[in-house]
Symmetry: C2
Subunit: 340 residues, 2 copies
């Protein structure tokens, strides 16, 4: 079952082609000056034997690698998968392969992933900025030998480069949107704020912006529920039951907002006439049909692209600015009034 066919090494390819190991190595990497005839013979031998390079040996020896580590909190969250596709689109054509780790928002899991990934000496490592990082993780990162980039968060300074939105700004934008519409009884619905520091920062920014105008933000959050539609629905129900006077809700993300909307619709609470709703991240825009959620859109794929570009530049030892701020746009849908 398991250890099957013999593993072919460079030496065997070399023997078959009648040249030295080194020549084979050069041919297969496209390095050095090798005659066309030798190249042909070597390639043929490698093909016939089905040679598969051993990256462990190659990277160990050259102290180089074409592997890029990406660690994200959740692969099912569409936000991250879009960032990732920007990363892949940029790195693959340049010959780099991304290996993904999923931390599930758990700092210990993230730490183990960082350890495992770094122990393969990757060409670079991309991490999500929005979560607490263990001391172990910090010290692992401090001793890394490759560039490290923080995704999805440009507020906190860390690592060599950051690509993402300012979550502070996002919170302020939502506050302004509500204030301009003279909404006073405002609530926030979220989940896992203890883990998702970016969401927490948006929440705090909203709260403080409102407080500056004398408005007290009501927050309904669940730390142990997923940041998904079901939870949005559930918490909205709780919220509306306990505080029927609420006029506006900002949700942690679009998915939760859609869940909340489904409850409001069923409960016969007209949106936006009775209650205004604002989401975050723009992932709902592609699917919007009758209900076009007012949300904050941001270039998710581009965040990945910018991060990957910065990585490539750093690998090439070029100097790079240390941050790319993703633009935020509050997109007016039909879940808040087109006041103003």
């Amino acid at each position: 079952m398991s250890p099957r066919g013999k593993v072919i090494t460079l030496q065997e390819v070399a023997d078959r082609a009648g040249v030295s190991r080194m020549t084979v190595s050069k041919v297969l990497r496209g390095a050095g000056n090798i005659s066309a005839e030798t190249r042909r013979r070597v390639k043929q031998a490698a093909d016939e034997l089905g040679y598969l390079p051993n990256n462990l040996a190659g990277s160990l020896s050259s102290r180089k690698s074409r592997m890029v580590a990406v660690i994200i909190p959740s692969i099912s969250d569409i936000v991250f998968s879009e960032v990732l596709s920007g990363i892949n689109a940029t790195l693959r054509p340049r010959g780099y392969q991304t290996f993904i780790g999923e931390s599930g928002f758990e700092p210990e899991t993230e730490t183990e992933l960082i350890r495992a990934m770094l122990s393969f000496r990757p060409a670079g490592i991309l991490l999500n900025g929005g979560m607490a990082r263990s001391a172990d993780a910090e010290s692992l990162l401090a001793r890394r030998t490759c560039p490290a980039i923080q995704l999805w968060d440009c507020d906190r300074h860390a690592l060599d480069f950051r690509a993402g939105p300012s979550h502070e700004e996002a919170g302020h934008l939502v506050a302004r949107h509500f204030l301009e519409r003279r909404l006073k009884r405002i609530a926030y619905v979220g989940a896992e704020l203890d883990k998702d520091l970016c969401a927490r920062r948006r929440h705090l920014a909203l709260k403080s912006s409102l407080a500056a105008e004398g408005i007290d933000l009501l927050s309904v959050t669940a730390e142990d529920k997923p940041r998904q539609a079901v939870t949005g629905r559930l918490l909205t129900e709780q919220l509306v039951r306990a505080h029927p006077e609420i006029e506006a809700i900002h949700f942690l993300n679009d998915a939760m907002a859609l869940g909340g909307l489904s409850y409001l619709h069923e409960a016969g609470l007209p949106v936006p006439e009775r209650i205004s709703v604002v989401g975050f991240n723009g992932t709902s825009l592609a699917n919007a049909v009758r209900t076009r959620l007012t949300t904050i859109d941001l270039p998710r794929t581009e965040i990945g692209e910018k991060a990957a570009q910065a990585l490539l530049q750093m690998i090439a030892e070029e100097t790079v600015p240390d941050v790319w701020r993703a633009p935020l746009a509050l997109v007016q849908g039909n879940t808040t009034v087109t006041d103003k």
Copy 2:
């Protein structure tokens, strides 16, 4: 910026602890018999220096690894992320780290990922069964040195183990559901059937089951559109415009079905009175509210768990059956009549 702090090797830890390299290696791996006092000194030295093992060297030398490669078509498809979480839940406690690759349903990308992953000599490789595999990929796999497992598809025989549903059976189940309700004008809505072979197999099974009863299945598919809600909506609109007589629709997956439902709802076509709708994969069940889609549920997380367990057994050189068939359950919601 990039190559920073000096890399600490085993030798340096050994020097500081006043022992040999080998002793350090044994301590850190928990191998061999090492006295408590030596263990303490070594661990302290490693800590103080911030030693991070070099897996390239370690795996090369031992010809072993704790890395498991997983290659899935799409990380944003919730089906795969649930399978993956079953895999992680099983492998992590056993000290294995999964590295994920995303093929985007592209055979060439999959091939490159297989090449990259295998060149790190992983402990095992898990691949999605539902897509075409290039000849290069087949030959890479034929020469692998680790167990390989096929996910999400138990029909096609390949690799050392398969965990997944029978897609044939799924197609037959849907056919039976329609037939029992005496529905005659039946349509199928899907996308990317050229890439997703599992979906194609379900489609064919449905078609042939219906044909056996003299019913001709109408198929509306788009090869270049994502298998998501938007596409479901769009194709449903096309379908209903061109064939207003349709009585039942089976969708490729739940996401597309929900998209289709949103159109039917808007178009004023009552479900299930006028049109019955059936999805596939059960991912909508968690979020179901008013609309409870009739769908085929299957244990997605468990598929990952079974696959991972089989892998562990194969690594341990135990004998393993070569397939685990995931049970399928047609779950009656309120998008088909509760006839029968």
